[in-house]
């Protein structure tokens, strides 16, 4: 018999999509039965109280969680989010319900040994509920009490060789796409760059010293599967400089209908016979391709590497060989001054260990932002407030047309004194000799 009646949540058990309500109930039941004899370190009926408090929110149309208190582990300023409910008498099991962020492995690859260790830990010292994964990328362990935090940290660091992720005004846990591990489009090893920078900047990740949050995300190609361009202060997007590699025989196979276009992504509907001119050549945004007399040609110098032709014919067209990364900066969600997309700062840099060229850009940006950024001002907002030119100055990068979609439409240039011959000190009396008052 359930501890709390949940008539509203029960309606989310029907329908085909996996029901989180059913899963919560399953966990509540498993904890109550406790077949393994786990000595639960937080209330055994915690999942019953999660269901109870959530049902109350469904009834009230409002959340019942309060602001986080300041909780954490010794020496770190992030990784733990304090959480308390506003009805502790009704739901004592979730009165204290803190979250831990655990830094996920690259590409979110796991072995079951690690996951089972994590499950055992969270059964024992937490609610048994997780997010796989949080929006930033971390493994999120939902719900434990303050005395458990150091114990959990001790166990993950000593027994699992694993650290917490970021929260607050620090470097948030970096995340990456699947990359070269299982994708032919990846122009660099997203997982290695992500891991190397995560390790290099552990101090920035665990000890908040920034004006606000700062995110790195790593996309292997311009398809941007981890949405770095929309949601990371520094977005690393794989790209290439030389020619798209063409396999003529495979092009013919696509044209002849032997290989389904777009890797079979459109097989749920009859779109008719594949038409290379209509589906590839005419959709190319720069019109740099042609198909004449059975021959596909690409004017690579005019190509902007949008990936469309490669996505449509992955067996015939491959990314070039001279690969690297474009760095875009300043993306963020709307709060506060409106959403921003990443803006191109570094068009191309090779991705070579130990990644010093990339670290130079990162550290120059951090120096500027930590010096000039206001409290809770994201990098993108600082760039808007002080101007893209200031970003170029701070990073020592020369302005090039690739930095803009179009040049400015107003002439209000903030000329600097040293850019104008003679400077700004002039003699008004000399001027008046020729110009009466």
């Amino acid at each position: 018999m359930a501890k709390h009646a949940t008539p509203l949540l029960d309606q989310l058990e029907s329908g085909p999509w996996p029901s989180f309500v059913s899963d919560l109930k399953q966990e509540a039941e498993s904890r109550a039965k406790n077949e393994k004899g786990v000595e639960h370190q937080i209330p055994q009926d915690v999942c019953e109280d999660i269901l109870g408090i959530l049902e109350l929110s469904y009834k009230h149309g409002r959340t019942h969680w309060k602001h986080g208190g300041i909780v954490g582990v010794f020496g770190y300023g992030g990784g733990v989010i304090g959480r308390y409910c506003d009805q502790p008498e009704m739901f004592p099991g979730v009165a204290h319900f803190h979250t831990l962020r655990i830094n996920q492995p690259g590409g979110k690859f796991y072995n079951t040994k690690f996951l089972r260790q994590l499950c055992d830990l969270w059964d024992f010292r937490g609610s048994g509920m997780t997010n796989m994964h949080g929006s930033t990328g971390d493994i999120v362990l939902l719900g434990t009490t303050t005395p458990q935090l150091e114990e959990i940290f001790h166990t993950i660091t000593h027994d699992m060789n694993q650290d917490l992720g970021g929260s607050g005004s620090n470097l948030r846990t970096p995340s990456d796409c699947i990359g070269q591990a299982r994708c032919e489009y990846a122009c660099y090893d997203t997982q290695d760059l992500c891991y190397a920078l995560t390790m290099e900047y552990q101090d920035e990740l665990h000890r908040p010293a920034f004006p606000y949050k700062f995110k790195f995300k790593f996309d292997g190609c311009p398809n941007c599967c981890v949405a770095s361009i929309a949601r990371s202060d520094m977005s690393f997007i794989g790209t290439w400089k030389d020619d798209i590699r063409i396999d003529k025989k495979a092009v013919a196979a696509y044209v002849g209908g032997e290989i389904p276009p777009n890797a079979g992504a459109h097989s749920g509907r009859d779109w008719g016979k594949f038409d290379i001119v209509k589906e590839v050549i005419n959709l190319c945004p720069t019109k740099c391709m042609s198909y004449e007399g059975g021959k596909l040609s690409i004017n690579n110098r005019e190509c902007t590497r949008c990936m469309h032709c490669i996505n449509v014919m992955p067996q015939a067209l491959r990314i070039g060989n001279e690969k690297g990364v474009s760095i875009l900066v300043g993306a963020k969600a709307p709060i506060l001054d409106g959403a921003q997309m990443g803006s191109l700062l570094v068009p191309f840099v090779k991705v070579e260990e130990p990644y010093d060229k990339i670290k130079e850009v990162i550290e120059a940006i951090w120096d500027w932002w930590m010096e000039e950024g206001k409290n809770r001002e994201r990098l993108g907002e600082l760039i808007k407030r002080q101007g893209f030119q200031k970003l170029l100055e701070a990073t020592g990068i020369k302005a090039i047309p690739q930095h803009v979609k179009e040049p400015r439409t107003n002439p209000y240039i903030f000329w600097k004194e040293d850019e104008v011959k003679g400077g700004w000190d002039r003699d008004i009396n000399e001027f008046r000799k020729h110009h009466q008052r």
Binding site: L12, S30, N111, T112, T130, M132, H154
Partner: protein, 382 residues
């Protein structure tokens, strides 16, 4: 339940302490076939919805079965995932950015057996545990935030509307009939932990009432200057307030007509709650994308200013989304993303075809960027 120590000694917190070790290294967890072929992949193909093959230059093939799930996941459920991975995949698996689980097998036979197994598992309540799909020109899992399960600022729930929406969109998770892939995301407030602002369809929780002021406690609970500084429209000013008991306290006053309901003040000051059962609800935004394919990445645009929170299944929200998806599916060209389609036919035609009412709320009036969204042309459609 007696407290059991992990070995941590609170009297000597630095004794034997391990810090700054970061995550486990990615390659510790690679399945052998991934390790052997990293950087050598030649091409891939979606064999059927939810089943992919990647072919390496070495001739190796890896078969991936992708299945959806709630990102809110119990350890019991994760252990079941582990059992499956142990049985078919040598104890390896991965998760995708969109909260799907991917099982990788080294033969098509294994992948087919795995798929059948996954599809056969159901929760006691009747829903699938591991529906296979989410590939190609269909709808993958919805990325989302915490909502009422764990957050203090949400204007809607997350897991509930996502479950309700995915039930309605389930056929498109299981098939690939759309003109292009379609990404749905949910953020339960405009903090957007999930950054939904570049999604084909974004479900966004939003408040519509200015903060209430808990004068008696405000100065004790909050740093008043921080609350004032938090307001992007300068609607908050310091004020002295006389309480019912005659005592005068320091507090704040809010110019309600300047409030844009962002909740940033509440983030800084718990004595300024905005949440309200009638005021809160959902904004629908459409036409965003993050890919650079064909057209540049785009922000999503607000097409429905407000839908009430209709717990537990949000029917108006899910029906509106379904309608937009179906009209798009019927009307767009092959490869055209929802936003590209809307731009080609024109937004006036989008509202027309989707039978959505256009109201003054949908015209931007926030800061300079608003101007660039008005129509500076005599070109329009009747």
């Amino acid at each position: 339940m007696a407290f059991i120590s992990s070995g941590y000694n609170p009297d000597k917190p630095m004794g034997n302490r391990i810090t700054d070790i970061g995550p486990r290294k990615y390659d510790e967890f690679y399945p052998p076939i991934i390790k052997a072929n990293k950087g050598k992949w030649k091409y891939h193909q979606i064999l059927e919805p939810g089943v992919l093959v990647h072919v390496s230059e070495t001739g190796d093939k890896v078969f991936t079965v992708r299945c959806g799930g709630a990102r809110l996941m119990s350890v019991t459920h994760i252990r079941e995932i582990c059992d499956i991975a142990d049985k078919y995949c040598g104890g390896h698996l991965r998760f995708t950015t969109r909260n799907n689980v991917e099982f990788m097998a080294d033969s098509l036979d294994k992948a087919n057996a795995l798929k059948a197994d996954l599809e056969s598992r159901k929760f006691a309540g009747g829903s699938f545990k591991f529906p296979v799909g989410g590939t190609g020109a269909g709808i993958s899992n919805i990325v989302h935030t915490q909502g009422w399960i764990h957050c203090h600022t949400p204007a809607t729930d997350a897991s509930g509307p996502v479950k309700a929406a995915m039930d309605v969109l389930f056929d498109d998770f299981k098939s690939m009939r759309l003109p292009a892939h379609l990404r749905v995301s949910l953020a339960c407030c405009l903090n957007m932990c999930g950054a939904v602002h570049c999604s084909d369809i974004a479900i966004l929780g939003f408040h519509r009432k200015p903060p209430m002021l808990d004068h008696e406690y405000l100065d004790k609970m909050c740093e008043i200057p921080l609350a004032i500084a938090a307001c992007p429209t300068a609607a908050i000013r310091p004020s002295k307030v006389e309480l019912a008991n005659g005592k005068t306290v320091n507090s704040v006053a809010v110019k309600n007509e300047r409030c844009m309901f962002c909740g940033n003040c509440y983030t800084m000051c718990p004595s300024m709650p905005l949440a309200d059962d009638v005021g809160d609800g959902i904004v629908l935004m459409v036409g965003g994308k993050v890919s650079n394919r064909i057209s540049m990445p785009k922000f999503s645009k607000v097409v429905v200013a407000f839908i009430p929170n209709e717990a537990p299944r949000w029917p108006t929200t899910t029906e509106t989304i379904k309608k937009i998806v179906d009209v798009y599916a019927k009307d767009a060209n092959k490869y055209e993303r929802l936003g590209e389609w809307a731009e080609r036919i024109g937004w006036e035609r989008f509202f027309d075809k989707c039978e959505l009412e256009f109201t003054h709320h949908l015209i931007d009036d926030f800061r300079d960027s608003a101007y660039y969204t008005w129509r500076q042309s005599s070109q329009f459609k009747f």
